[in-house]
Amino acid sequence: MAFDAIFQPIEIGNLIIRNRVVSTAHAEVYATDGGMTTDRYVKYYEEKAKGGCGLCICGGSSVVSIDSPQAWWSSVNLSTDRIIPHFQNLADAVHKHGGKIMIQITHMGRRSRWDGFNWSTLLSPSGIREPVHRSTCKTIEEEEIWRIIGDFAQAARRAKEGGLDGVELSAVHQHLIDQFWSPRVNKRTDQWGGSFENRMRFGMEVLKAVRAEVGDDFTVGLRICGDEFHPDGLSHDDMKQIAAYYDATGQVDFFGVVGSGCDTHDTLANVIPNMSFPPEPFLHLAAGIKEVVSKPVIHAQNIKDPNQASRILEGGYVDLVGMTRAHIADPHLITKIKMDQVDQIRQCVGANYCIDRQYQGLDVLCIQNAATSREYMGLPHIIEPSEGRKRKVVVVGGGPGGMEAARVAAERGHDVTLFEAAEAIGGQITTAAKAPQRDQIAGITRWYQLELARLNVDQRLGTYADEATIKDLKADIVVLATGGKPYLDQHPEWGYSENPEESLIVSTWDVLNGKVEPGKNVLIYDALCEFAGMSAADYLADKGAKVEIVTDDIKPGAAVGGTTFPTYYRSLYEKEVIMTSDLMLHKVYREGDSLVAVLENEYTGQQEERVVDQIVVENGVRPDEGLYYALKQESRNKGQVDLEALYDIKPQPCLSEDGDGFLLFRLGDCTAPRNTHAAIYDALRLCKDF
């Protein structure tokens, strides 16, 4: 039977988990009201349970103590009994659908921020600063150690009283327990540091206290890393020793294993591997831990599709697979496997929009699935067919917004025509996928291609839709998602011309799409510090160009999220790309066969020049508004979107008004340049009521 390995139930502690797929703990940034699991939180996990996920471990980095700040990341607060009824809501919602739910509990130690809320003094075994959060901390005292051990036990009690199925103690990601474990961070000479047993002591006392509080019939697991990847940190052999040591107590019901430590930017990027990583890059580490423990082992990290999950489980490397981002992209993943709809699974592409938002303290959202975590607002994962009349919907532009608009309108049962000027749909995603290590982002388009074909959307590819074409179709609704053009003409001094022969600069699109030959000596001016500039630099360097990427901002790549700029840096430094900050592009001129870029330091006004053979400018996008203004006056709603309805996830009032002619809406970059998620979100919330 296909995917049989996934659908073998397994016992963890006293629980029977219905299949081998886990949504592992991640920080959701949804716990409001002082860290309570409120409506949004509950609905987010209910959707996964409804979609068939076997086990959800919620609340990555949920705190047990009041001096482990939770508000920065809206994480769950188990330091108060106030959480118990909220947990009951959460447990009921998941249990109703046959799922199980546990929560990760932890004290973050030094891995946090102190400069807000309670202005907590952060704690760590030896008071050593943590690089990622730039956080200083005090050396923890014996009394505080015992207080926190007690806090762990109380937190576990609250989880149990709230009806959750278990707790996972976090000894991963350099939280307090593994801060004690790691000789890189723990320099103590008392009974809490030094020897192996001493470094293990804090975690062991936590485990004992938790067990003593919740008893044997409550599931308690331990999440650990497989190798800290620091020469002075815990190696894989160390971690095997630690795992075996805790396993020998018989009090740990399962082990979760994550490859890599994460107290530096570079190691952090390993923890949630983005699209530049191969599939399951750290499975060997989890398998190594499985060799030495007697209890089930869970491993998550870049496991995204059911074939991969089956292969890992069939190989016996681990007992359960974490498919956490896979569930963020598609919480109905398991159901779709069971329904033999594997091709309909919206697969995670590793864009890491979710986790990169989290590291900024923003709510976790999926780049491609705008319904995720918005279930509480009434945004659906499954679009029900309209009960109203069938409409003729014309969508212009096959980028993310247009693809989603076409999909949603077709799911509603309407007659949908999608125009795309290029030979294939995808829009800017197609361009983005041309860069080295970024090809997987095309997975977003791949899903839409399959869905639009399944839904019989009439796709007019390679067809530029003008005013007359659209009017001929006698549409009821016209959705414009025509995107925009690179914004190269902001400063005349840059020497941009629409005539490629005359233009002194080219765009990152031109480079990535292969419209221009890569130069040999290239200067990239990147005013945004986002993906496009980094990708163009990587692409050109990959083709053998000598590349300098210059920005007037903090640093090239500064606006790329925390799990992705490190993988760009790994690649760019490797290829000797020069990254220069604080310089604006003042002017470009031609000198013989060469181009000269005049750069000006933002802070001193001092100018310097670069003589190169190609200048690439990344300055964002200007909306393509031509078609919109051509159609606006004739449309029934004058192209206006009712924002109150849109933001409330309500139908646009004009949809229920009778009248001749068409309604006109525009989405995505052709309104104002934002990002993929924004375009898809707008399309979903607008079109779901068509």
């Binding site: 039977m1 995917f3 073998q8 139930p9 988990i17 109703k96 046959g98 799922g99 033999d340």
Partner: protein, 670 residues
Amino acid sequence: MLDILLPILIFAALGLAAIGVVRRVRLWRQGRPSPVPLVKGLASVPRRYLVDLHHVVARDKVMSNTHVATAGGFVAAAVLMVLVHGLGLAEGVLGWGLLAASATMFVGSCFVARRRRNPPSRLSKGPWMRLPKSLMAFSLSVFAITLPAVGLLPDNFFEGSVSWVLALALSAVLVWGLGEMVFGMAWGGPMKHAFAGALHLAFHRRAERFSTRGGEGKRSTGLKALNLDDQDATLGVEKPSDFTWNQLLGFDACVQCGRCEAMCPAFAAGQPLNPKKLIQDMVVGMAGGSDANYAGSPYPGQPVGEHQGSPQGPIVAREGKALVDAETLWSCTTCRACVEECPMMIEHVDAIVDMRRFLTLEHGNTPNKGAEVLDNLIATDNPGGFAPDARMHWAADLELPLMADRGEAEVLLWLGDGAYDMRNQRTLRSLVKVLRAADVDFAVLGNEERDSGDVARRLGDEATFQSLAKRNIATLSKYRFQRIVTCDPHSFHVLGNEYGELGGPGMPAQYEVSHHSTYIAELFDAGRLHVKPWKGGGVTFHDPCYLGRYNGEYEAPRSVLKALGIELKEMERSGFRSRCCGGGGGAPITDIPGERRIPDMRMGDVGETGAELVAVGCPQCTAMLEGVVDATAEVRDIAELVASALTEAPEAFAGAAQQSSNRPQAVEVA
């Protein structure tokens, strides 16, 4: 002169017929013994003929009336002819009666003749084409010779030189008629059906099929158990003489009307099976000879004349050709459409399974995946070879009550091997949701359940079937329940109709078994289910063979669909004429190639109704119909439709629902 000639002719014909009868009976008696009540059987013929058989024949009104006239006319005419012309009792009413009978028969013959002018392909040609002429010859000549007897012609009409010639000519026609109707009846002509058919009705091995004064006949569809302990007997049927004598008699009753052929899904799919030809081959086999004289549609893809057999010769050759090829036997889906249609009450499926039993049990020759499936059943108690302890994996999150824990429950939910199939698991989960919504007290056997044995039995592996059945019976005997409910019509049939014979001392195997549609219909009737109105498109219903033809349940699924607010768009072939999905009898396992796929044809039937959804009530049907490429309709089990329509109980029921809130709640289907 006729006064002298007629009795001679009549009694000569009768005498020759008697010899034929003895010869024919000898042929039948080559078969294995099968005790029957002789006198009671013979006495029941008129009723069985006039009531039960007539019910089947009357599905074709014109032919039914034709047959009433022709056959009724003939029987009366034959008897009266013996009295009037044989014994010379022409006085009064007898002669008039003979006139009327032969006239009636003549009218009937005209309709038979009309039928034969452009016969549908299902009808055999050959000697059958001359039958209307023979009927006319008999009826006309008898009518004519009787005219003087009643005084409509002068007594001496057939005397004198001209009339002599006329009398001679009439006599010749009468000889023809008598030859066909009397002599031919016993010596193997088309009229054999009347003689063999009457005795077949008398000594049918499923007497319970026929009505009695006490009431309607019962459905009798369970296969009969094979005695596995008889060391001397061949297991199953190797050669024609291995059939019981009354099975051989039954084959002889065939009228080659081809109603079976017209309904057979394998024939329609171009697989090498034609039930009519199969029966005729058995007739050839019991007498010895070749099939060269067969004048009907052949097995698709197989020319007539290449096969031959004898009573003691093998039916299926190990190598080369004998009477029939193994592929013919393995093409059958056991859908019983042939049996249901047969006006002579012939039991084709019994015969096919008897022959399969030999191939599987004695030769180990079950084709394609057959052997693997049987090995799986032996090793794992399920046809897929899945781990026996994985049977409940699909329900790991449902916390289903186990009989082992409970000991008793009102309903024992029999899961079937669909428990291992991801598609059917959706049906099962839906059914659980429905049962919970209605607050039904149910439990499952869990890992104690084994395959019902249906597939093993249909593939001829009676030993594995009986082993599974006996162990299931032993398990069931440990628990108390009012009835078994299952969403698998095959399990339903086997548990309800075939286990009964296999119960042991202190272990009766008589269960009340209900298909889930029956049970759900009852829940609706009792007001225990609340649903929102149907908002989908057009729906049709596909009757599973093992629910409909095997168990006569045509109404319950329709009543459930009606309760959901669905107005069915019925297929032309629905109810007792439903076309098989192709999934029964192990046919997907033996997988005999044809020109088309049976499920594709069935989906074509669905398509003709314009329905967007076809409701089903069988895991096999679901699998087969969902396997159709470019299907025009979605496939949903009735349980799924009900589960997705469930709503909260209205106010009045809220209290009851709350009281039972400590039980596990319904879980999503997928």
